[in-house]
C-alpha cells in the first residue's frame, strides 16, 4: 500500500551528518568481511593442528 506524505520536514544536512559517520560504515564493513570469510571456522582448528604437528 502506497503512503503519500505532504510537506514532510526533512532533516538538515548537519543532522544527517551527526546521525551517521564513515567510521560506523567502515566498522560494519570490517565485520561483514569477517563474517563472510569462509576460513573463520577453520582458522583456529587448523592452527591448533599445525602447532600439534610441530610439537
Amino acid at each position: 500500500m502506497l503512503k503519500i506524505l505532504l510537506d514532510r520536514k526533512e532533516p538538515s544536512s548537519d543532522e544527517v551528518r551527526q546521525h551517521q559517520n564513515f567510521n560506523e560504515i567502515l566498522a560494519a564493513h570490517a565485520y561483514q568481511q569477517k563474517v563472510n570469510n569462509p576460513w573463520r571456522y577453520w582458522y583456529y582448528p587448523v592452527l591448533t593442528v599445525c602447532l600439534l604437528l610441530l610439537v
Binding site: L2, K3, I4, L5, L6, I25, Q33
Partner: protein
C-alpha cells in the same frame, strides 16, 4: 543559481573521482571522501521513499556497506559513481519493501503538487489535489518512480536514466508515457 561547470572542470572532477575510487578499491579507508560527497544525496533519496526516519538511516548505512563490499567489482563505464550508488540504494529500498521492513512512501511538497495540477486544469481545487493523490496510487511502480524523480524531485532525464539504467531518451519517453497515464487516471476520477 546552479553552479555551471565547464566541460574541462567536469572531466577534471571525474578524473579525481576515478582516482579516489581506485585508492578506495585498494584500501576502504580511502572511501571517506566519496562517502562525504554522496551520503546526503543517498539519504534524501531513501528518506523520501520510506515513512520512518530511522529506517532511512538504516537503509542508507546498508547502501554504503554494500557499496564498500562490492567496490572491488566496480568498473568505470562512463556513468558517474553516484549512479552506481543510487542503483544500490534502489535495490536496498525494494529489498526492505519486500521484507516488509519499510513502507513504500512518496513525499511531495504541496507547492509542487499544485504546479502539476495547474498544468492540467485551469483552477486548482482541494478536490483536484485529492484526485491526483488517488491517481498516483493507481500507477505502476516504474511509472510512479519516473513521475516521482522528474516532478517531485526535479531530476534531469539524464540523471533519471542513470538511476534507472535507461538511456536519456528512453527515460524521456517512459516519463512522458507515465504522465499520460497519470493524466488519464486523474481525469477518470472526475
Amino acid at each position: 543559481m546552479p553552479l555551471q561547470l565547464s566541460l574541462q572542470q567536469q572531466s577534471f572532477l571525474l578524473e579525481e573521482e576515478r582516482t579516489q575510487i581506485e585508492r578506495a578499491q585498494q584500501d576502504p579507508r580511502f572511501f571517506a571522501p566519496l562517502y562525504e560527497r554522496y551520503h546526503d544525496a543517498i539519504f534524501r533519496y531513501v528518506y523520501r521513499r520510506v515513512d520512518e526516519e530511522e529506517q532511512a538511516y538504516d537503509i542508507t548505512s546498508s547502501v554504503f556497506v554494500k557499496a564498500l563490499q562490492a567496490l572491488h567489482k566496480y568498473e568505470y563505464r562512463g556513468l558517474p559513481f553516484s549512479a552506481w550508488l543510487f542503483r544500490i540504494a534502489k535495490s536496498e529500498l525494494y529489498q526492505s519493501f519486500r521484507d516488509q521492513k519499510a513502507q513504500r512512501t512518496v513525499s511531495i511538497d504541496k507547492v509542487v503538487l499544485k504546479q502539476v495540477i495547474e498544468e492540467w486544469t485551469e483552477d486548482y481545487t482541494e478536490q483536484d489535489k485529492a484526485r491526483l493523490l488517488i491517481a498516483l496510487k493507481d500507477l505502476k511502480e516504474q511509472q510512479l518512480q519516473l513521475i516521482e524523480m522528474r516532478f517531485f524531485e526535479k531530476r534531469s532525464f539524464k540523471e533519471i536514466g542513470e538511476i534507472c539504467g535507461l538511456s536519456e531518451n528512453n527515460a524521456k519517453v517512459k516519463t512522458f508515457r507515465a504522465v499520460l497515464k497519470l493524466k488519464e487516471f486523474f481525469h477518470q476520477k472526475e
